[in-house]
């Protein structure tokens, strides 16, 4: 295969750079078969145009993103706080304030005969809420009695009649007395919500001791979170 003929076979004398190599443009001229003295000016012009285009392109690359790019800004807000130990107890039900208000020729005599009067099984409803483990306790003060009579505080008994969340303590699923200091009745190892505890109250009666008159005693329920 013969090499293409042209002036490339007799190129102008190439220029050499400081390392003795043929200058780039001259190499190009020498390599292009049809290149010659006339075409050299065309190539130089072409390279100038390419350089100019590259400068413009570079400027565009630098400037364009700054104008066209999306921009964003962020801000962060922290939500939270420290939740304290919380619990609450709500007392409802018909209560026992009138438990000893007996009727003559009826419930009064019957109660004395059987030795006690008792409330409905859910006369007192304790509704418990806690956000961690807790316990429920009860205590009483002393009877207020007619005259100088001093009714025994042990004549008051209470019991839990339903099966609320938690573990019965001190056998309060049957009648127990209370003292002047808290006695634990129910406890649980975690929080609870709307935990209803039904409490029944019994007051012992004695024909010979319990004289007519107004009686009262206060039961204090305490719910507390525990460790």
């Amino acid at each position: 295969m013969s090499r293409p003929r042209g002036r490339a076979t007799s190129p102008p004398a190439p220029r050499f750079d400081d390392r003795g190599r043929v200058a780039t443009l001259d190499r190009m001229v020498a390599f292009v078969p049809t290149a010659g003295r006339n075409n050299r000016h065309t190539l130089e012009g072409l390279m100038k145009s390419v350089r100019f285009a590259l400068v413009i392109l570079g400027a565009a690359v630098i400037c364009l993103p700054a104008w066209a790019a999306d921009e964003f800004d962020e801000a962060t807000s922290s939500v939270g706080g420290t939740i304290p130990e919380l619990c609450q107890i709500v007392v409802s039900g018909v209560g026992c304030a009138s438990l000893l208000t007996l009727t003559q020729d009826g419930s009064g005599e019957v109660s004395y005969d059987q030795g006690y009067v008792e409330s409905a099984a859910d006369a007192i409803i304790l509704t418990l809420d806690a956000n961690k483990q807790w316990q429920l306790s009860g205590k009483i003060d002393t009877w207020t009695c007619p005259g100088t009579y001093n009714k025994d505080e042990d004549d008051l008994l209470i019991q839990i009649t339903n099966t609320p969340t938690g573990t019965i303590q001190n056998s309060f699923d049957s009648y127990q007395t209370l003292g002047a200091v808290n006695t634990t009745m129910l406890s649980h190892t975690a929080g609870v919500s709307d935990n209803a505890v039904d409490v029944q109250v019994r007051v012992l009666l004695d024909w010979t001791q319990d004289i007519p008159g107004a009686y009262s005693i206060t039961i204090t329920w305490t719910m507390e979170t525990t460790t």
Partner: protein, 182 residues
Amino acid sequence: MDRRWKRAVWVAVAVGAAAAVPARATELETTPTQLVVPRLAVLSITGDVSQLLTFTQDGAGESAYDAGAVESAADQTVLTLNANDAWDLSARLAGNWTCPGSYNKPETDLYIRITNTPTGTIQNGADAYITLTSTDTMVLSHDTGVTDNEVEVQTRIRLDWVQDIPGSYSIPITYTLTVHVP
């Protein structure tokens, strides 16, 4: 000297004097000025909800648990937006709840909503309480720039007596204002 010659001499003198006075030079130059304004976004946040769960005993704490949630004030968080092109506002959870002990409070217990009527279009029902995830949820957008556009955000956290034990809680919400092609 002839009168004509005198006049000619005076004219010549006048012309010479005029030529001796330097002409006033005037040059105008123009400096081409090109301003390249990029898209700009500035989002600022005010308000503190970092203590929303810090309750008082025998008071707000029990009430909040009974209600099942605690809410911030309607304008407790205020985002102020400035943008010079179309924009959208997004929110995401930048992390999970930090909880006491080993408890893992669900991230869906946190809600936010926009309570005022800022410039823009509410997105994804964010004018009612919505939950957030770890990816951006767009809550507001607009197709032109705005200045000092205040967005009031209310925060709500669900509470459960049984689940939400005492201790310190925190979760970060990141709001992002993005300015983009309309």
